[in-house]
Symmetry: C2
Subunit: 208 residues, 2 copies
């Protein structure tokens, strides 16, 4: 069974917390490159990507669902109508790869959930999507655990740093430059980003 | 086979990058609590903890190896004499648990390695320790991969956010408060630390 992979995506003015180091046009191109990496990973395990975007955008690779609503409302209109397992996976996780996603979708529990940095939810796999609803933003990992418990659904928390690492802030780029292998790392390197290392943790620098 | 777990540990004035939010005495107590969590995790998979400390410190639980040398030199004197598999695991990874460590020590490769935040090495498992030497600090993950390749040793990179999350900076405490279950989380909460959440990532606050 290859579940549908719902990928929320914001094509216009995304990743505003990276504004100090990337222009709006660069942020839009970078978000597109990260999306491409996530799509590659999802296809690697034969999931069918479905981009959930609030705006039309060009893509002949994937289905696009467009609704004028916030992320929670949009997803919560899709889930009750889903007849097969669904994975919801964020578009800003460029370290996602086939093996990490396979661990998520091969859970023996009703739900598998991957926490993101700072208490968010980076991926959630639902064997019976109609029994669940999402509540993103503001500590969603804890909220999703509570929703599952209330619905009587068993949960596996997937321990993956590749899926834990969402890219929101400057420091997050470090992990992408160290562990990335896809288009978004190449995009950053093309802009002149490189690791700066001394004796502690690595940082990033940009040569212009 | 239960490998020895070498745990480098600095009892005096540790974790100086947390100085803005913790006093020296608090940092020492916090480091000790994190060490206790790592020891619990290691024992959970029947590994034998061996604290590698450059200073004497009280412990009736574990063996202590004390040498007047830097970490690399100390470990590189131990490894050639090790006759059985060894895991080297840092003392500042309080999210370590039995299942994550089991993934490391049950690798089918010669070596399993866990990258830390910012390019470090949080854990490394060596089936034949005498064939390897360590080179910590400054991008050690990449250096250890290169050392393994040069020695003709096969490597598995373990994808675990619990073992990826070392605690060096203020922001790292967020993950401990979200996902921790042991003594170090309890220690922080006893000091008044709590999560602060709004709509983005969680932060930490301290009530005095």
């Amino acid at each position: 069974m290859c579940p549908h992979a719902l990928i929320p995506y914001k094509p216009k003015n995304p990743k505003t917390r990276l504004s100090s180091i990337l222009s709006q046009e660069e942020r839009e191109q970078f978000a597109e490159a990260m999306l491409a990496d996530v799509i590659d990973a999802v296809k690697d395990v034969n999931c069918m990507p479905v981009i959930v975007s609030t705006e039309l955008f060009d893509s002949d690779l994937v289905q696009v669902t467009v609704q004028d609503a916030d992320l929670n409302q949009t997803l919560n209109e899709i889930l009750p109508r889903a007849e097969n397992p669904v994975i919801i996976i964020m578009a800003d996780m460029p370290l996602a790869d086939g093996p990490s996603i396979r661990r998520v979708i091969s859970t023996t529990k009703d739900i598998a959930i991957v926490p993101g940095r700072g208490g968010g939810t980076n991926a959630i796999f639902l064997k019976e999507p109609q029994k669940f609803h999402v509540d993103y933003y503001g500590g969603s990992f804890a909220k999703h655990l509570a929703i599952a418990e209330k619905a009587g659904l068993s949960v596996e928390v997937i321990d993956s740093f590749r899926l834990h690492t969402d890219i929101d802030e400057d420091d997050d780029l470090v992990e992408l430059l160290i562990h990335g292998t896809g288009k978004s790392r190449a995009y950053l390197e093309g802009l002149g980003f490189a690791l700066s290392t001394d004796k502690g943790r690595a940082g990033v620098t940009r040569k212009r």
